[in-house]
Symmetry: C2
């Protein structure tokens, strides 16, 4: 593959990280082979081959108040080969890591579903399946992520690439230079893997990032060219932003020092989406350090907005039992302990209603882009 | 808005269709005002103001074998104002059409959720709500689509914009020229509205279109630069393709005379996805003529592929009861009456298994892009 290079092929190899082609290993390759070598050492020493896997449970997660992110603790579980309860998982982990190494060597990326099929076979001479279904292979990939201390993206495994971005920025994606201010009504589809070897931020005139919960609202801001008037990157992750969108926001915030504003519905799910962007999530705690954006600002909607923006009571929706339970749960998360957040959530519960971004359209189709957000920005009305 | 023009503003007005700004009405505006005028005529003639709405039920749908698409029949329902059972819906329809007219006049696009909030208010002097929830407003929009014989896109209402495309083609989207062969790993996000006034197909070197069911498989083909080697447009709609993706395929097939190949899992849902692309769907029958692509070819996966491509039996998945019921239902659709389709579906039922695209990865990560599809194309192994 390295021989017959065209400009575009160069792009692909650029995307894939060239190191292995020069005979050296990438960091991730070394991490995978390192794991294998440690197991071989156990064998050479006639010890029970064992892997230590960091524990991915709530008990091993804590909120680092100083850093403002959710972190994983140090607890690990031993997974010895000569142990009836662990032998299968041990072998699965070895098999999966060997396939992940091939993915590295071939400079390819793939899905967790693909990895399941890739690893599934009948063990020779037996009727035993390596993996019966994907519920078995997904946790093995997660084990490897934490054991190797790699991001899933570095393992070259992609997730659902569900996001779109436009704005005054030029990026390079897999060698293609893309002017994000000329992406029409559609936008650039944010890939799942946006690591620096794939996506480079080439040039930016953006002053901030606006992360919008809903694709339809993103469309409103794009059609109104909000990003041009306000010099901002306009991005959506359609609900809970997928990893690619979170990681790209992280990179723009950290590499370009841009403030990040998050715009969600006023309901417990909106608060939660914001909190995952800001502090990380409990079940992906080990990735917070490279995904979470503690500087993120919650620009709306707030439970005070209905009064502030004179939104008619019949445009709000009654909180249902699930909403109320969820709000109370969220109130007790240490990352919502701040007085202003307690006030915000209690006020929503007191009003007993939630408020959707679309409710602003009752005033005018573009009220949200022409008045609501600009006013919030100007008056510095956000929570962080 | 027309006064202070910049290049980009020109783009926006281009996107929005300029006609109304010159004092003339767009086709859609005339259709909406035409409906209002017909009601006014009833009033002037002291008749009961009435709207005739084409019936959107299975009984009013048929398969046009010659054209190869599902069509809506001529049955209509009368909706008189002076009628207790119809007055509310009549008024809702009038209110919605007046708001849709504003959308036209403002050259904006929006979502059905937005339209709900836009139209929701308390009727003055009463406690009556115009719309209580979106379940009431969505059918009114559908009524108007069929009554006015417009596409939803022409009403400037967008759906979920869930699709991505790359390939050897330059398009213009809202005035921005976009080279789809330089879109990196992410791709161009296909907008929901791809009508000719928004998206123009400027230049194409594509020889065919490959529509892939799954985003992850699309990623595989893009990473392997399949579209470059085979000169094709590579598009995904992530499961059942949304309207924008279907309409864009329709336009590429009809304007550029490109063959369209559909690549889905081998299961009843895959067959169904293909059939919607090809013949249209029952509940959107009135749009088939501008959305369905009767020329579409089913390139796989076929129930014969496991044997053909030597896929191990443990990589197939047993059909569950729902799959079997769905397959039997599909077999009786007139558009699957063809002998070869009957054979295909019966064979899947006989084997009792389904087969996912990812199963091909068991051979090699790129087997699907390097061998499977190229071989199918070369041997002309498809169903249509």
């Amino acid at each position: 593959m390295a021989k017959k290079k065209t400009t575009k092929r160069k792009a692909v190899s650029k995307m894939s990280g060239d190191a292995s082609k020069r005979g050296t290993q990438t960091k991730t390759q070394s991490q995978i082979t390192g794991l294998a070598e440690s197991v071989i050492k156990h064998i050479d020493a006639k010890r029970n081959p064992t892997i230590s896997v960091p524990t991915r449970t709530l008990s091993n997660v804590s909120f680092n108040k100083r850093k403002g992110i959710i972190e994983m603790g140090d607890a690990t579980a031993e997974r010895p080969f000569f142990d009836l309860g662990n032998a299968r998982r041990f072998m699965q982990t070895m098999l999966m890591s060997s396939e992940l190494l091939k993915l590295q060597e071939q400079h390819k990326t793939t899905s967790i579903r693909d990895m399941f099929y890739r690893c599934k076979h009948t063990v020779e001479g037996t009727k035993e399946e390596t993996f019966t279904d994907q519920d078995e292979s997904d946790p093995v990939i997660e084990d490897l992520e934490v054991t190797l201390k790699t991001l899933r993206e570095e393992l070259r495994i992609f997730a659902n690439p569900d996001g779109t971005m436009v704005g005054p920025m030029t990026i390079r994606d897999s060698g293609d230079e893309i002017d994000l201010s000329r992406m029409g009504s559609g936008g650039w589809a944010v890939p799942s893997i946006v690591e620096p070897d794939v996506v480079q931020l080439v040039k930016s005139n953006a002053k901030f990032i606006l992360l919008v919960e809903k694709a339809a609202i993103w469309g409103r801001f794009n059609e109104d060219r909000f990003w041009e008037k306000h010099k901002c990157m306009l991005i959506t992750g359609r609900g809970q932003p997928p990893r690619g969108v979170r990681r790209l926001c992280f990179r723009m915030v950290n590499e370009l020092k841009l403030p990040l504003y998050v715009l969600v519905d006023n309901d417990p799910w909106g608060y939660y989406i914001y909190s995952v962007v800001k502090q990380g999530s409990i079940n992906l705690a080990f990735e917070s350090a490279r995904m979470a954006v503690p500087q993120a600002r919650f620009i709306g909607m707030s439970s005070y907005d209905a009064a502030e923006f004179d939104i008619a009571p019949n445009l709000t929706l009654r909180l249902n039992d699930k909403d109320i339970a969820r709000a109370k749960e969220i109130m007790h998360y240490p990352w919502f302990a701040d007085r202003r957040w307690q006030r915000e959530i209690k006020h929503m519960l007191k009003l007993g209603v939630k408020l959707e971004l679309e409710a602003l359209s009752n005033k005018d189709f573009s009220f949200i882009a022409d008045a609501y957000v600009p006013q919030k920005l100007k008056k510095r009305k956000w929570l962080d």
